[in-house]
Every structure is written in C-alpha cells, then in structure tokens.
Symmetry: C2
Subunit: 490 residues, 2 copies
C-alpha cells in the first residue's frame, strides 16, 4: 500500500532524539531478558495484550473513527482480527514449532568422510525490532498489529514508530500494550513507541536496532531500506511496499460470471475507500464482453472518505497521472464518494507500462481490455513483483494454467475466482512477493510464518545436555516439535 | 574468510560483457523449465554431477594442487565432501520437505471473524542465482560447491563467477557440471560459468539475476552487497564474509585440558595453512596458566604454503597490522612454514578492539590473556558477529553458562571443548551469523537449510485441485511432507 510518511496530525509531539535513544536502549536491554522468558509466559503476554485491547474496544474504536474516518463495522472487524492475530501468535509460541529445532546426533560413520559431531540447532530472536506502522489499518498493521505480534512472538523487543495518521489511537493502544507487559512482569523495554519521521530514521540507524518491519509507500519504504542497508552494520529490512494486484478475467469467465465479477470488483475497489494493499488496481477483461463492461459501468460503487487529507491528495495526484494518458478514459464513477473506474487497452499498457501500471492508493482501478488471449498472456508476463494476482476462469485449460503459472512467478498470493481483499490470518498465508511488493521476497508480513523474519538459527556443537537451552536437551522438556537426523521426531 | 578478488592467474580470459549477458539470459530462460523439472529428476542431476566429479578425481585433484598449493589429502577429502554434499541435496530434493507445504482448508468458523478460504502454500525457486566462488575451498565452496548445490536443489539456475585463484580447475569442474546437466536432459542454461571481477559485477547488476551467494572478504563482499541493494530492483545477497572465531578457555579447562587445548589449537591454526573461514583467530586463556602458554609456545606448528602470492601478501599485511600494536608480542612460530602465535592481554583488546579483533587470513592467531573471569566475560560481551565461538570448560557453572549465552548472541555456531574447523555438512548445521560474519543472519551457507536462501513462498487461494501444482493437490501425489491446518500431516 502507498502512504507517505509526512505527519498529518500534530496532536502528539515528535519523539526527541534522546527519547528515541532511550526507547531503543531500553529495547536492547530487554532483549536478553525477554528472549529468556519461558514460552508459556511469552504467550501469556500476547494473550494479555489481546484481552486488554478487547476490553477497551469501546474507547479505542471511536478514537479510530475520529482519526481515520473509517466506518465502525470495518474498525470493529479489524480490532477483532488484531486480537485474534495476537492470540494466534500466542498459540504458535506455546507450540514451539517456530523454534525449528533440528538435532543431528553424533555419527562416526557419517558418509561425508569425517565423523559428525552432535549438532543441535534452534531459532533465537534477532534482537530489537523497529516497526513502522501503517496508516490504513489502525489496528491490524499498527501498534499492536501483525509486525508487533510476530516480533514479540519471536522473542524480540519492539519499538513502534507510530503512523502519523492516528497518533492518539497509537498512544492509547501503546499504553495498553505497555500495561499488559508490565502486568505480566515482562521487562519494560520489551515495548516502546515513538512518533515522528526523524525519530523513525534515528531509530533505524541506532546501532542496537536489529531488524526493521515497514508497511507503507514504495518511495518511503525504499528510502528506509537504503538507509538500513547502508548502515555500518546492515540490518534486515522487511518492507511491504506497493502492489497493483492485477486481476485477469478470461473470455469464458467474462461471459459466465459477468454479474458476480462486476459486483465483486466494485466491492473490492470501494471497500475501505480502496485503501488496502490488496485492492485490485488493474482488471484485464476481454474487449468482446459488453455485458461485463456495462455491468461495471452501471453499478453504483459508493465509497467512504479517505483516511486523511494527505492521502486524499496523494490519491488525486496518482489518478491524475493515469488519467492524463491519452489512451485512458473514464468508465464510471469518480464523483464524490464514488469509486473511479478508468479504462484503457492492453496495447496501451504494454506500450507504456511505467505510466499505466502504477498504484492508485484509494478507490480507483484501471479496467484493461484485451483483444485475444495472446494479448492477455503478454500482459500477464509483463508484470513486476506483486502481492497478489487473481485469475477468473471457468475451467482448467491452457489459458488458465498459463495465467496461474505467470501469476506465481511474480506474486506471493495467487487467487482463483476470488478477490484479493480480505486477507485471512492463517498458518499458510503468504502476504509478500518480489520487489516492489516487498523488499524481502522470501518472507511474509501476515500469517504465522511472519515470525521467522525476526529469528536466526544457532547451532550448538558437542554441548553437554546441562549446558544446552531447554528446547535442545535430549529429554525435550519443552515438548517442542523437533526433527532428528533429518526426519521429524517428537 | 578473507580473500581479495583480484585476478591472480591469467590463464583463463575474463568473460566479455556479451558473454556475461548471454550466461544470465540463458539462466533466466532456463529458470521456468528447470523449476518445472520433476523433483526426482532434479535430484538425479545433482547425483550425476557428483558421479562425474568422483569419476574425474584423478584429473581434478592434480589440477587443484597445482593451482592452490593445498596438499593432496586435504583436496581428496574436500572433493569427497563436495560430492557427498551434492548427494545430500539430491536426497533433500527427493524428500520434498524443503517445499514447506502448508495447507489451510476452508473454514467458515475461523475465529478471525471472516471465513477462511482454502489456502495452499509452497516454496518456489527465486530464479537465476549468481554464485561468487571462494578461493580457499576449490571444490566445496567453488564451482560445484555448497552454494551451487543448494541453488540447483532449490530449482534455480546458477551462474558461477569463478574464483581467480583456480581458473583452470573451475573450467574443468564447470565442464563436468555442464555435461551432467546435458546428459540428464536438463535445460542448458541451468548452469553457467564466468570469469573476472568486472564480469561478476555485471552479472550482479543484470536485471534478470534474482539472488547472489558470495564467499569471500568483508571488504569485497560488502562492496557487492551494496551494489545488490542499490539496484533498481534490489535482490537478496547472501554473503559469508569475515570471522575471528574466538575461543574462550576457562581457568579450569586451562589446567585440566592444557595439553589437548594446546595441540588442538596448533592444528586448527595451521591446517590448510590457516586459510579457513572458521580458523580460530583469537584464543582467550588465563594469565595464570603457564602450562598452557608453554605448551602452545613449545609445540611445532608446521603449515603448508598459502594459496597464492596475493593471499600471502594479504596475510603478511594483516599480521603486520596486529603485530605493530605496542601490546602485542610473539609467543611462538612465524618462520617459513610455521604458524604464528601472537599474544596480548584482554585489557589491550578491550581498549582497542578495532586494531586487535581483526581477521588474519592465514596461519596465525592471537592468544589473549585475561586476569580473571570478569575480564573474560567482558571480552565475550565485546564481540561483533561471528561464524563461531568456542568455549572450553570443565563443567556447567555460572562462568560457562554465561560464556555460552554470550556466544549465542553473536555467533551462528557455538562449540564446547571442540574446534570450529572441520565443518560438518548435515541437516542441523548452521554456518552463518550476524554481520560481518554474513550479510543475512537468518541464513546458512552450509547444511541442508542452505536451500531456503533460494526459495520464496507462494500461496494459492481457492484454486481447484486440477489447477494446483502437484505438491499442493489434495491427494499429495508427490508424497511430500506437509502441514495441514497448523499441524504436521502426511
């Protein structure tokens, strides 16, 4: 998703340089103690944060409405998703599988030619994580959102750089997180909250920061990524940046599913005023599908207000750039409170990819008409990194197989006859993809696998049982899942 | 390990820019077909490469001796390790567990508040991998070494940038790899070989290169890392750079294991003329351990020639820098063909970390004397990222626990009463660590987990069975290990 990082609400003062250093130093001091907290207790902290958020929903949601202009049902659902997510990570921590314990017992006959020593490997936390919160999900991708939950689950302290879009809500959620941590007796520095763009940069450059999570614009994310890589000691930067989330509708599906596709598209483009990282921004439909185009053009697509004036201005600018192209027309909408449906041809897109394949963060999409399946395939092969690619089709044939295969080469998530919005938080979820969708294509920012971003493996060689971390001891006192000599064992 | 990348042997011409582009383009064209090769067939290619190398040992080893000056037994052992490694990755591919298949079945009651769709996730190859080969392991970390084996296992084509230290051997091994690939009917572009520093940089900057593996010096690796991160589309750079591999000997161990430690140290420092990424470069011993120091000083530590004149010059320079420090003296050795044992105090190291904690790539180490365990702990806490840290002790007590804990915070591998040289290739192995040991602390370049560097997950949402990749189909036709709804299933 695409949001610039300029402060838009001035009600909370930027954190001073000394305040930033203090937050990161506190996180660094808490790193050892927090990593050493027993798994069951670490899980209890996550559950307690979830409980506190739920208990204060009646105060938090009105605050969120005021600062984000999002409607109550959306925010209530998002808060539910957020506390569910915290509890899912708590469950993951209790299970212990994320430690990825692998044990090789000593083997004098190991066929490498040299005896194999006893090797016991597990994941340990990376250290203090800096989390740049997003504006468009004031709960689920913000102070107590997925990045914070997964970093805490990994055993890392977290410093959140609050989104400028909802500072008071950030402060309120941050206070609840800090209270929960304190109530559980976890180290105070395990969680910190800072405000302001300069504060975020300072924290990123702080020598004790070990990793960064970011959700925001491609331009802003790239600038921070460059800073993270350019440090004397570079650190991992997990950035979720921009995505167009193309949708390919086959000629068959355009006929047989016209009504469903038209209505689904309008919902996907207009809900949350289109301010979703997974909003479909390009929909390829056959030229010869007047029914589908008419349905799209005819249906109303009411949409709410944008998050704030800055995002509204960014949206307007992005739309203007696409609209200014000579091959682009307006299919429908675009008035106040209505989603905007632009249209152009696949030929135009293929001829000027840079101008026409660009994210418009807000309630707009570009309906692209293709002449034949050859052109559809060419369009599919022209994509760069994406969070999602969706294919609407009727059956398994050469066209749908080729589209799905092309989709998998550029996207983290590939969908069939469904819309990419409404991302589920699950074990198998993958919310990521090649650049510019993210800066780390092998990782996800949603789902339980998000925890691995904040871990690194350590192997212990020939260390006696009483000196090993509990998860690696012969008796497996933590009863974590383990693999032994290359095969799963309990 | 630390080797500069300047060409030292001129017998093979640098690859031209057109040649580089051609190799990367061929790899990019092979990416789809190679990824699509069935797992059993992919494994057969790895086995066939191993078989060819074994069959040509009688030609390859003399070539390696001539170009690297390493002794025959070491090279024969290394070739055995290399072909074992290829076969271990073949076994990994056949097993299919590296695909990390996770399936969430559709669940209308998913407690997130929104029905969960069917989600099926697996790892797919990243695309063409550029592998900068190392000089010090002409087989195991070179053309058909661990990076190549793990990238091919992942389903990625590989372009190797040959080490300047053994160009003819690189060419010979490369020809055997190419023959094996051709014999198996795999796409020709699956493997390419290029020569020359400029060629390597050009390949790294090529838009179709998807990831980079590097083993070499901190300076050279950092420069290439910066280029990889600075591309318009940044790509993952898996660099294994420098490490001092500190060893901590407790007062008790210095008494009870003096003879074993002295002899083990001399072997670890002198074998392969000290040109190992895991050579112990700093050994902390108690001041009050005259027996240990005398044993170290008295024993002969014969060592072979260095790999080439450039490495010899680099070693001499690094040694001179440490030796020039006013607090550093010579404990023993240092003549032609003998390992050099320098000595200083922990106080001096703590006062001037930058000058004294530096890698000397060759047969030298710095014996550091500490006054008391407080100073020993301070030394342990002062470390930066390391591949390994070793602790020699007699029992589990506060000192050894604290040393092992400090070791785990900075190193990828932590050893007890053993030396870090002689790295085993296994399932649990971890050869990595925080910067500057590597540029990617969550990854390993040795052991089966090395394959994950070249994979990224893709999730398929609501895709019908007959359109799914075989590994994700309901019937599990490939019989790969999978987890379903968060728990392992077969």
């Amino acid at each position: 998703m695409t949001i610039d990082e300029t402060t838009t609400v001035e009600s909370v003062a930027d954190t001073t340089p000394a305040g930033v250093d203090s937050a990161v130093d506190a996180a660094a001091s808490a790193a050892g103690p927090w990593a050493a907290v027993e798994l069951a207790e670490r899980a209890r902290v996550l559950d307690t944060i979830a409980d506190r958020l739920d208990a204060h929903a009646a105060e938090l949601i009105p605050l969120a409405i005021r600062e984000t202009r999002l409607p109550e049902p959306r925010l209530a659902g998002e808060l539910k998703r957020t506390t569910f997510q915290l509890r899912l990570f708590a469950q993951l921590v209790r299970d212990g599988g994320f430690l990825d314990v692998r044990i090789d017992t000593a083997d004098a006959q190991w066929p490498m030619g040299v005896p194999r020593p006893d090797l016991r490997r597990m994941n340990i936390p990376l250290g203090p994580v800096l989390n740049f919160a997003a504006s468009n999900f004031p709960f689920a991708f913000s102070v107590a959102g997925g990045d914070t939950a997964s970093a805490l689950a990994a055993g890392c302290p977290v410093v959140v750089k609050a989104s400028p879009g909802h500072p008071e809500l950030s402060g309120a959620v941050g206070a609840l997180v800090a209270e929960a941590i304190s109530e559980c007796g976890a180290p105070g520095g395990t969680f910190g909250l800072i405000f302001g763009r300069d504060a975020g940069v300072r924290a990123l450059l702080h020598p004790r920061t070990a990793a960064v999570a970011f959700t925001g614009s491609t331009a802003g994310g790239r600038a921070l990524y460059d800073l993270a890589c350019g440090r004397p000691v570079p650190i991992p930067f997990y950035g979720e940046l921009g995505s167009i989330n193309p949708v390919f509708v086959t000629p068959e599906a355009a006929r047989s599913q016209a009504a469903e596709i038209a209505s689904g598209l309008l919902t996907a483009v207009s809900s949350s005023a289109g301010q979703l990282c997974t909003k479909p921004g390009l929909v390829a439909v056959p030229e010869e599908a007047p029914v589908l185009a008419e349905l799209i053009a005819a249906a109303p697509a009411p949409t709410g207000e944008l998050l704030n004036d800055q995002i509204a201005a960014g949206f307007e600018k992005a739309v203007e750039q696409v609209r200014a192209h000579s091959a682009v027309g307006v299919l429908a909408g675009g008035g106040p409170g209505a989603a905007l449906l632009l249209t152009t041809t696949a030929r135009a897109v293929l001829a000027d990819r840079e101008s026409l394949m660009r994210e418009m963060f807000g309630p707009a999409t570009l309906v692209v008409t293709y002449r034949d399946t050859a052109e559809l395939h060419e369009l599919a092969r022209s994509l760069h990194g994406e969070l999602t690619v969706s294919v609407f089709g009727d059956r398994a044939d050469d066209t749908t197989r080729a589209l799905l295969a092309a989709a998998a080469t550029v996207a983290g998530r590939v969908l069939w006859n469904s819309w990419p919005t409404g991302l589920s938080v699950t074990y198998a979820q993958q919310h990521g993809g090649p650049y510019p969708a993210t800066t780390a294509p092998s990782t996800t920012s949603v789902g339980t696998a998000a925890v691995t971003r904040f871990l690194r493996p350590v192997v212990f060689q020939s260390v006696p049982d009483d000196l090993l971390p509990p998860a690696l001891r012969e008796a497996n006192p933590l009863t974590v899942p383990r693999s032994v000599n290359g095969a799963p064992a309990q």
